[in-house]
């Protein structure tokens, strides 16, 4: 893969500082680089003090929803009457996203440390790290690091010699995108079919095995040790725009850019600079057409919107999309948006858990309409139908998989209507191989 690339000078290296440095994977190497000091520090603090520190840092969930991590931890019952669980969501399956994989591959101890701190904060004695099954290398690295952490007394009955007991298990996913949805993930850990659960009850009340549970993304938990050692104020200062978006964000950039890969930027970094400067822009002679900034689940931006978009939670919303998981998919002028949308919709149709009617039927219907258009048999009314089907699929289901299919497709129909019409009018010939 040739990854990792050399860091770009405009990157802010926090999570990715040791990417590519295989010595950082080992316990000793990690400790040499300052590892497990944050955990030691946290274990000496009251759990609530850890929560308050993370709250003060402004750290928000990096899995897609952007919910403040400290607030989420604060939802856990203060009077402990049952076991508490922490689940680390490492089921990174969002198309275009490949940041958690790198954190696990290169800095497994950072994740273990982050998990342990969070477990202490929410007073969970058990941590499940739910890793996407296809991430065989990441799983091997994580397992090795976990074994080492146990051997060195970081985990177990007396974590780092403290009075806190923290056990950590790696749970391997079996290949379903939906298991990255937090309640489906809990069902999957329980050995059940990975179907999202209806809320309420929320996981903090009734989570995995019916116990209070917090689920955090890998990148979120990976950021926690840095917040502990360097302080909430420092983390908060890492913001170029909205004070509501703090810290650094790993952006996974793929598609038509000269240098795809993970880039760690400070919140508020201009998307334009990320694409043209850090990623080296388009191939010679090509121009930017569109960007999906947050993994395939969010609305598409056209060139103008993308070039003016600020990369943080608020900036993306202002541009009409979402920061999501930070999996940026870049399209140049050769991209066939109709085909791209069909591929995206096909993914969701394949991965729909089949519980909710709108999602089960709507995703597959969307694919059929797009395939009909691509095959040159489309009609003008199909475009309105696509939008209406998308509307019927939005905001009405248990989880947001249905919305995630409708959002990119609907926005593409609106922003690139000409490309759809070209197929329908016969101005563009169907490419059989594409369908």
């Amino acid at each position: 893969m040739g990854y990792p690339h050399k860091p770009h000078p405009r990157e802010t290296l926090v999570l990715s500082e040791h990417f590519g440095d295989s010595d950082a994977r080992t316990y000793d190497g990690w400790v040499k680089r300052g590892g497990y000091r944050a955990l030691e520090q946290a274990l000496g603090m009251e759990p609530q003090a850890v929560i308050d520190e993370v709250k003060a840092s402004g750290l928000r969930g990096r899995g897609g929803a952007g919910f403040p991590a400290g607030v989420k931890w604060d939802f856990m019952p203060k009077q402990k009457s049952k076991r508490h669980y922490l689940c680390c969501n490492a089921d990174e399956s969002e198309p275009g996203t490949f940041k958690d994989r790198e954190i696990m591959r290169w800095t497994p101890h950072a994740l273990i440390e982050g998990c342990a701190i969070a477990a202490h904060a929410i007073r969970a004695e058990v941590v499940y790290v739910y890793i996407r099954g296809e991430f065989t290398e990441a799983i091997a690295v994580m397992q090795q690091a976990l074994d080492e952490a146990y051997a060195k007394g970081v985990l177990g009955r007396k974590a780092l010699g403290s009075g806190t007991s923290i056990d950590m298990y790696i749970h391997r996913g079996a290949g379903a995108y939906i298991c990255g949805e937090e309640t489906a993930l809990m069902n999957s850990i329980e050995g059940k079919r990975g179907n999202p659960r209806i809320r309420p009850p929320f996981p903090a009340a009734v989570g995995v095995f019916g116990m209070p549970t917090t689920i955090n993304n890998v990148e979120t938990l990976g950021s926690v040790p840095h917040i502990m050692t360097r302080g909430a104020e420092w983390y908060k200062s890492l913001s170029l725009s909205s004070p509501k978006s703090t810290g650094t964000k790993l952006m996974s950039v793929c598609g038509h850019v000269a240098r795809p890969g993970n880039f760690e930027i400070t919140m508020g970094f201009p998307m334009k600079d990320l694409i043209y400067d850090l990623c080296g822009g388009m191939s010679p002679g090509r121009t930017l057409k569109a960007v999906i900034p947050g993994g395939s689940s969010v609305p598409v931006l056209d060139r103008e919107e993308a070039e003016n978009c600020v990369l943080d939670y608020e900036g993306c919303v202002a541009a009409g999309t979402m920061l999501g998981s930070g999996g940026m998919i870049v399209f140049d002028d050769t991209a066939d948006m109709v085909y791209q949308m069909m591929r995206i919709a096909k993914f969701y149709a394949h991965e729909s858990c089949a519980q909710c009617t709108q999602c089960r039927e709507g995703t597959a219907w969307t694919v059929r309409i797009l395939q009909k258009i691509l095959s040159g048999r489309g009609e003008m009314q199909d475009l309105d139908l696509l939008l209406d089907v998308g509307e019927m699929m939005t905001g009405k289901t248990i989880c947001v998989l249905s919305d995630s299919c409708a959002a990119p497709v609907g926005s593409a129909v609106q922003k690139f209507r000409g490309e759809f019409e070209a197929y329908i009018k016969g101005a563009r010939q169907p490419a059989v191989a594409l369908v």
Binding site: H350, A354, G362, W365, I369, M392
Partner: protein, 529 residues
């Protein structure tokens, strides 16, 4: 209940007060507003997957599912008055139909199909799904037991899966595959042969799970539904008898929270067969010159009264614990004055077959509906002793007992055999009078279940020929004997019974309603034990 917190909310302008914790869907039911739904069933855990019951709640940005959202104080909920909710329902209906074969003309569920009903009620007139698109296709599968699965009609509401998992407690069904390829799967080495599995057919809101026994027998709109009580065992599950013309074509559970919730067992579903038997006595018969000859009711009743008047001493009553409480009472009244041995016998199966998820609901080993009623009225389960007594009895009266295994020798002693029955076994040919009675589907009456619950059943079809309800025959006989007025209805018979028998004190058909009432506390405990 009185100190339970209550909340008041408005649903489509109807104000309703319900206990805190009630869902919006259930509160709406009480307010008289039906929120269309598929996956929700009051007897199953909530799944919240069909997304049909989406309602608008003032102040909440997104539509919420009525089946899982609790009613809250001061809420304003809109169901039919919300364009947004209507549009959402229309969307669900359109989605549900895109992969549906639209084969209502050959579907057993047509006429009682919730998909058909709601689509007619508020669905789009035409689909926007292009006819050139393929529809999901999976072949019909025999799930075993009485259940056939037609996957193409399935809307994946998962009621069947939840019933088997959470109520029957047997994990044999699941949702297999994902996306629009999903279907209900069955364990590869198992069958849907749980004794209560037939409930999945009733639970299925569409024509996807069908009864093999009922398959293509009748269209739903041809059926009349009559409230009744299952005769399969002493549990007394409330049922509806579905009749077409003069046949009962199926038995389905009728909800009763106190007895069977929403369910009944597969054994009970088969009881309709006995109700349609053709080997029935169609006319009263009297013994003339060594043979039984048909006669009219006046003549036959007079003959029977004459036999009773001319006898004294001991009388033996051999009754069926499936006879109505009214008939059992009136028979005792008829034999008043004799030294009576009144007995029944009951078929007992090995063990019970409980429905795991519902406490107190089981296919009982006693396979008759009115054992408790007969016991309350003084009949004893001492059939053999009664047969012994019959050898010297002045009169033997048989009430609906099939006399299986009884020989004419055993009943010859008295020479005065009065037989009230549906069919005429050889041993009954020695009777002096044969009085044809109707069966449970052909008369009104009541049974007492094993918990002492007195429950009414209603006439669903007409009886064969001149057959009459046993209560009518016995009341006519009492009148003939000069000990009462002829009765006009089972209700009157029950009134007399209630006036005389302490356990039934204060009860009437009106007070029993269609859900029944338990007999007085002291007696009930006795019966339960």
């Amino acid at each position: 209940m009185a100190d339970q917190e209550r909340v008041t909310l408005a649903i489509d302008g109807m104000e309703i007060t319900v206990p805190k914790g009630t869902t919006i869907l259930e509160a709406a039911k009480q307010a008289g507003v039906l929120i269309p739904h598929y996956c929700y069933h009051p007897g199953l855990p909530v799944a919240g997957v069909c997304r049909m019951c989406l309602v608008e709640i003032e102040g909440v940005p997104k539509l919420q599912i009525g089946c899982a959202t609790p009613a809250a104080e001061g809420q304003t909920v809109r169901v039919n008055e919300s364009e947004q909710a209507k549009h959402a329902r229309q969307g669900v209906l359109e989605f549900l139909l895109i992969n549906h074969p639209l084969d209502c003309p050959i579907c057993d569920q047509a006429g009682e199909c919730e998909l058909q009903n709601y689509v007619f009620q508020e669905g789009r007139a035409r689909t926007r799904y292009s006819p050139t698109y393929p529809k999901r296709f999976n072949p019909v599968e025999d799930f075993g037991g009485d259940v056939l699965y037609v996957p193409n009609r399935c809307i994946l509401c998962t009621r069947c899966v939840r019933f088997m998992d959470h109520v029957a407690g047997e994990h044999v069904l699941n949702v297999s595959e994902r996306g629009d390829r999903a279907y209900i799967g069955i364990h590869p080495q198992r069958q849907l042969d749980h004794p209560w599995a037939g409930n999945v057919v009733d639970l299925c809101p569409v024509g996807s799970l069908l009864s093999k026994d009922f398959l293509h027998k009748a269209r739903a709109w041809e059926l009349d539904h009559t409230p009744s009580v299952c005769t399969g065992c002493s549990q007394g599950c409330n049922v509806n008898l579905d009749t077409r013309a003069h046949s009962v074509v199926r038995v389905r559970p009728r909800p009763n929270a106190e007895v069977n919730k929403y369910f009944m067992c597969d054994h009970g579903r088969q009881t309709y067969r006995a109700m349609n038997r053709g080997d029935r006595i169609e006319a009263p018969l009297v013994a003339e010159g060594g043979a039984l000859v048909a006669a009219d009711w006046d003549h036959t009743l007079a003959r029977a009264a004459q036999i009773l008047k001319g006898s004294s001493g001991t009388a033996v009553a051999l009754v069926s614990p499936s006879a109505s409480t009214e008939a059992l009472y009136l028979l005792k009244a008829v034999l008043d004055g004799f030294t009576m041995t009144a007995a029944f016998r009951v078929e007992r199966a090995d063990g019970e077959q409980p429905l795991a998820g519902i406490a107190g609901l089981s296919l009982r080993s006693e396979r008759a509906p009115n054992v408790a009623g007969a016991t309350l009225l003084g009949y004893e389960e001492s059939f053999d002793r009664a047969l012994e007594a019959a050898r010297q009895a002045a009169v033997v009266v048989v009430l609906d007992e099939d006399l299986d295994g009884v020989t004419s020798d055993m009943l010859k002693g008295s020479g005065n055999l009065i037989y009230l029955g549906r069919a005429l076994p050889d041993v009954a040919r020695s009777a002096r009078v044969v009085l044809p009675v109707t069966n449970v589907a052909e008369e009104d009456g009541s049974f007492v279940n094993r918990d002492g619950r007195v429950q009414r059943y209603l006439q669903a079809k007409s009886g064969p020929g001149m057959a009459r309800p046993a209560w009518w025959i016995l009341s006519e006989l009492l009148a003939e004997l000069g000990r009462g007025e002829p009765l006009g209805s089972a209700a009157e018979a029950f009134e007399i019974l209630a006036a005389k028998e302490r356990a039934f004190d204060g009860m009437s058909y009106g007070s029993l309603g269609l859900k029944g009432v338990r007999v007085g506390n002291g007696t009930a405990a006795e019966v339960t034990a």
